[in-house]
């Protein structure tokens, strides 16, 4: 069992927990406002309540350290340490954050630029971000993926997909 003597509070974790707690409380409030009846809240209320308590508990363990809280709550053994620590701790945070940002931007842009154009730029930008420097390769790959997906959208899907220029090109062919 790892010693918790040198426990450092992970503020990122607390931030995440704060969001989770905020969601919990908001959801409980909005569900109750929609219909404050037993049948509506039959599952949400107990689950939400337990979840909120757990969230607070985890927050406390993050602030004060696991064993400290355990002792205070008079529990038995600490639960952790059977498995390895998260793989998600290593890796370049900046790159990951930028990647996540690009992806979010990509999806947000689809209704405006069209799936084809958005995909092209996304693939291009991501390749560059992740270190790909071969220009011809990047351009061809981005074009290829965008083209392939556009063709798939035009031929396979029974409902329309927002496309920038692909549909016009397709009609032209």
């Amino acid at each position: 069992m790892p010693s918790e003597g040198d426990h450092r509070t992970d503020w990122e974790h607390l931030f995440f927990l704060a969001i989770v707690l905020a969601f919990l409380l908001w959801y409980l409030w909005t569900a109750t406002a929609a219909s404050p009846t037993f049948t509506n809240l039959i599952l949400i209320a107990p689950v939400g309540a337990v979840a909120a308590i757990l969230a607070l508990y985890v927050a406390l363990t993050e602030i004060f350290g696991h064993t400290a809280v355990m002792k205070a709550a008079a529990f038995g053994q600490a639960a952790a340490a059977e498995t390895a620590p998260s793989r998600f701790r290593s890796g370049s945070l900046a790159t990951i954050a930028l990647l996540m940002g690009l992806f979010g931007l990509f999806v947000a842009a689809i209704p405006y630029l069209g799936f084809d154009i958005a995909t092209f730029f996304f693939v291009l930008a991501t390749l560059w971000l992740l270190g790909e420097r071969r220009v011809i390769f990047s351009l061809s790959l981005a074009l290829g993926i965008a083209a392939a997906l556009s063709i798939a959208a035009l031929t396979l899907l029974t409902f329309p997909m927002p496309l920038g220029i692909a549909r016009l090109l397709w009609r032209g062919i």
Partner: protein, 340 residues
């Protein structure tokens, strides 16, 4: 344009006749040309449910026949989601011309969509061309169930209120009919244990498995399960030919002097835009006539019947009346909507 005014080779009278003939011929051909110019593009029938349901089936059945009549391809586009709201909204977002049609359920689904889900549209945004296929409510019991007749059910409810379980699909026509039935029997809503299901297939299974004392579910699809469930009553004006021995609910309650004002179950209609008649009267006329023709074609009727699809023609006026009548009954029992 007709001939020149400078021609004097032909006398005035015959000229006038010729002019009149030419004029009518010219305008006739122009009118024909205009009418013939639509449709030129494929037509899409939007279905506001997922593939495979009754609505989708009706649309896919109609599409090839309409295509033949109108001379352009007719495609079916399923746009399910949000209890029909998404598909209907999608339909409204398309250009308001004859190139997009809608197959949806103005009753009972739209009633809930408009009144409970704040869908944002209203009946008056649409022109219901025709309610082609209206399902009915059937009351079914498990083959091995403890209550084997409608009378037994009613007696059990009266004798031990709050012990008889009844299954319905939530916020369906049957759901309303269950509430209306209990009211007609002058009993409080708590007289039956109403168990709500999300779709009719699990409800039918529950009845078949003797999990419920009885269930009220759409009739037509249940006819495939008659080896496991027994029909004991139908909510209709007349008996159903497929199950001729099953009496109607009002037949059964007549001796007690009770008449149940029930709502029809799922009504499936072909729908266009409210402003189509005004903006593109020729397109509206073409659509209307083509659709009417298809539904009166004996081959089409026979083929649809084999697939279990109805081909009723009520026309726009009667269809709207029927829907509004149903809405009036829903309005009377609006408390059922928000009942828990």
């Amino acid at each position: 344009m007709t001939g020149s005014k400078n021609t004097r080779l032909i006398g005035r009278r015959p000229l006038l006749w010729m002019l009149a003939g030419a004029a009518s011929a010219g305008s006739f051909s122009t009118r024909r040309a205009l009418a013939d110019s639509w449709p030129t593009e494929p037509i899409t029938i939007v279905v506001s449910t997922k593939a495979g349901g009754g609505f989708d089936h009706m649309a896919r059945n109609l599409a090839p026949a309409l295509s033949k009549e109108l001379g352009v391809p007719v495609n079916v586009l399923d746009k399910p989601g949000g209890a029909m709201v998404l598909g209907t909204k999608y339909f409204l977002s398309q250009p308001h011309d004859g190139n997009t049609l809608l197959v949806s359920g103005p009753s009972p689904y739209w009633y809930t969509d408009i009144n409970k889900f704040h869908a944002g549209y209203d009946l008056k945004d649409f022109d219901i061309l025709n309610v082609q296929w209206a399902d009915k409510t059937g009351v079914f019991v498990p083959k091995a169930g403890r209550l084997q007749s409608f009378k037994a059910i009613v007696d059990a409810i009266k004798a031990q209120p709050g012990t008889v379980s009844c299954g319905v699909v939530r916020d369906s026509g049957e759901f309303f009919n269950a509430g209306i039935l209990i009211e007609s029997l002058k009993l409080p809503p708590s007289a039956i244990r109403l168990v709500t299901y999300e779709a009719s297939a699990p409800l039918r299974t529950a009845i078949a498995g003797d999990q419920l004392d009885f269930g009220m579910v759409s009739l037509e699809a249940s006819l495939g399960m008659l080896s496991l469930i027994n029909p004991v009553a139908v909510f209709n004006d007349t008996r159903i030919p497929e199950i001729p021995d099953t009496p109607t609910v009002n037949e059964l309650l007549k001796p007690d002097g009770i008449t149940v004002e029930f709502v029809p179950s799922s009504m499936r209609a072909l729908i266009t835009y409210a402003d189509l008649k005004e903006k593109h009267p020729d397109q509206y006329a073409r659509l209307h006539d083509a659709y009417k023709k298809v539904l009166h074609d004996p081959d089409f009727i026979a083929k649809a019947k084999k697939q279990g699809i109805a081909t009723d023609w009520l026309g726009a006026e009667q269809s709207l009346e029927k829907i509004k009548a149903a809405y009036a009954i829903f309005d009377k029992h609006k408390t059922l909507l928000s009942a828990q």
